[in-house]
């Protein structure tokens, strides 16, 4: 019996609402144990864009993933880290965010809000003058709810994505989406 397959095809279009310019985004896809990535790259990093028109940074980063799955648990989640790069090439964290890959076939416009850890008032002052600031030690706090209660965060901007979902053989298993 053929496995159910999911194609995720689209782009990380860009970001708005960040106070910094010259932004880049590191992204990755996390799935449960029942999912297997058949083709495509699971993670990547976009180019650094400095917008000339308006305040939206555009990445147009292509995403083309092909999954096969034996179960519905662990539906793919896209996690994002937006960083800003200054003229010296140093990177500063602008926001973390995640969103689930849509579960119905067709094209979807996604707006993913982001947040960043706040730190103590000393760290906030240092970040305003010198740059830097606290970062997460383990990236899985971005897409998991465990231990979030320890964090005090402030909000960053929004990342915009356009993803098209193509499902295959889901009707054979009686799955409605």
């Amino acid at each position: 019996m053929a496995m159910a397959e999911v194609h995720v095809i689209g782009q990380i279009m860009g970001a708005t609402g960040f106070s910094e310019s010259s932004l880049l985004c590191k992204w990755g896809v996390h799935t449960g144990a029942a999912w297997k990535l058949l083709s495509g790259v699971r993670e990547g990093q976009t180019q650094v864009d400095t917008p000339q028109i308006g305040d939206m940074a555009y990445w147009s980063h292509p995403i083309d993933l092909h999954f096969a799955t034996k179960g519905l648990q662990g539906w793919p989640r896209l996690h994002l880290q937006v960083w800003s790069q200054d003229s010296f090439g140093r990177c500063q964290l602008a926001g973390y965010g995640f969103c689930h890959v849509p579960s119905s076939p067709g094209t979807h416009q996604l707006d993913c809000p982001t947040w960043r850890p706040l730190g103590s008032w000393r760290e906030q002052l240092a970040r305003a003058f010198v740059g830097g600031g606290p970062q997460l030690l383990h990236g899985d706090a971005i897409y998991s709810g465990a231990d979030r209660y320890r964090l005090h965060t402030t909000s960053g901007g929004t990342v915009h994505l356009e993803l098209s979902l193509l499902l295959r053989h889901f009707d054979r298993y009686g799955v409605e989406c």
């Binding site: 990547g44 864009d49 098209s164 295959r168």
Partner: protein, 218 residues
């Protein structure tokens, strides 16, 4: 009549490169080409083209219109047919086709320089799709190089525009987004449903989703 299950599907795309918005530049032409993985092969139509040179209209719209036709048909060529044997990874990857656009125009000295690169996946669901894509140029790394390239008319360019369609290797590039191009696609597919694919509701409105984020033209 033979009732054998189909082993390939067809994707027919027609449409146009409609228009562009570049506030700072005029007298532009664009080149398009299709980029696709090993699982696809074009069977009809043109894979690439160069448009006419267009200038901004004199009215308040300041529109740059190409109205340049696109007409291509792709065939999927997965040798495993419709079924991937359980537990095995297929040898070829999906890599849906993308259209890569490069826009060029004259600089103040009359040289032809690149004004933007952009790429978008060809939609796989049947229907009418309108896409507005941002166009960006690679940025010089230092102010001196920026001045030299402006003076000599040799701007930073990608050696192969198909790089724009890939995600790998992008993390070392710095770019500047400076315009938009609007594309229109009409998509017809054959045998995708018979092969088990569900592409979602047909898009008959032309523009889907909530209003575009600030920065995109309305």
């Amino acid at each position: 009549m033979a009732a054998a299950a189909p082993s390939v599907f067809l994707l027919m795309v027609n449409g146009q490169v409609e228009s562009a918005q570049f506030p700072e530049y005029d007298d532009l032409y664009c080149k398009y080409c299709f980029v696709y993985g090993q699982d696809w092969a074009p069977t009809a139509g043109l894979e690439e083209g160069i448009s006419q040179i267009t200038s901004k209209s004199q009215d308040a719209r300041r529109a740059l219109v190409w109205n340049f036709p696109i007409d291509v048909t792709f065939k999927s060529t997965n040798p495993y047919g419709c079924e991937i044997p359980h537990g095995l990874t297929p040898a070829l990857s999906f890599e849906g086709p993308q259209i890569v656009l490069s826009v060029y125009g004259p600089d103040v000295f009359g040289n032809d320089v690149v004004r933007g690169y952009g790429a978008v996946h060809v939609p796989l669901s049947p229907g009418r799709h309108k896409k507005t894509i941002p166009m960006f140029v690679p940025e010089s790394t230092s102010k001196l190089q920026k001045f030299t390239s402006w003076f000599m008319g040799r701007r930073p360019e990608y050696t192969d525009p198909k790089v724009v369609a890939q995600g790998e290797g992008r993390e070392v590039t710095r770019v500047r987004s400076q315009g938009f191009v609007t594309l229109l696609f009409n998509v017809v597919t054959k045998d995708m449903r018979k092969l088990g694919y569900d592409t979602g509701p047909p898009d008959t409105q032309g523009v889907s989703g909530p209003s575009p984020p600030q920065g995109l033209p309305r």
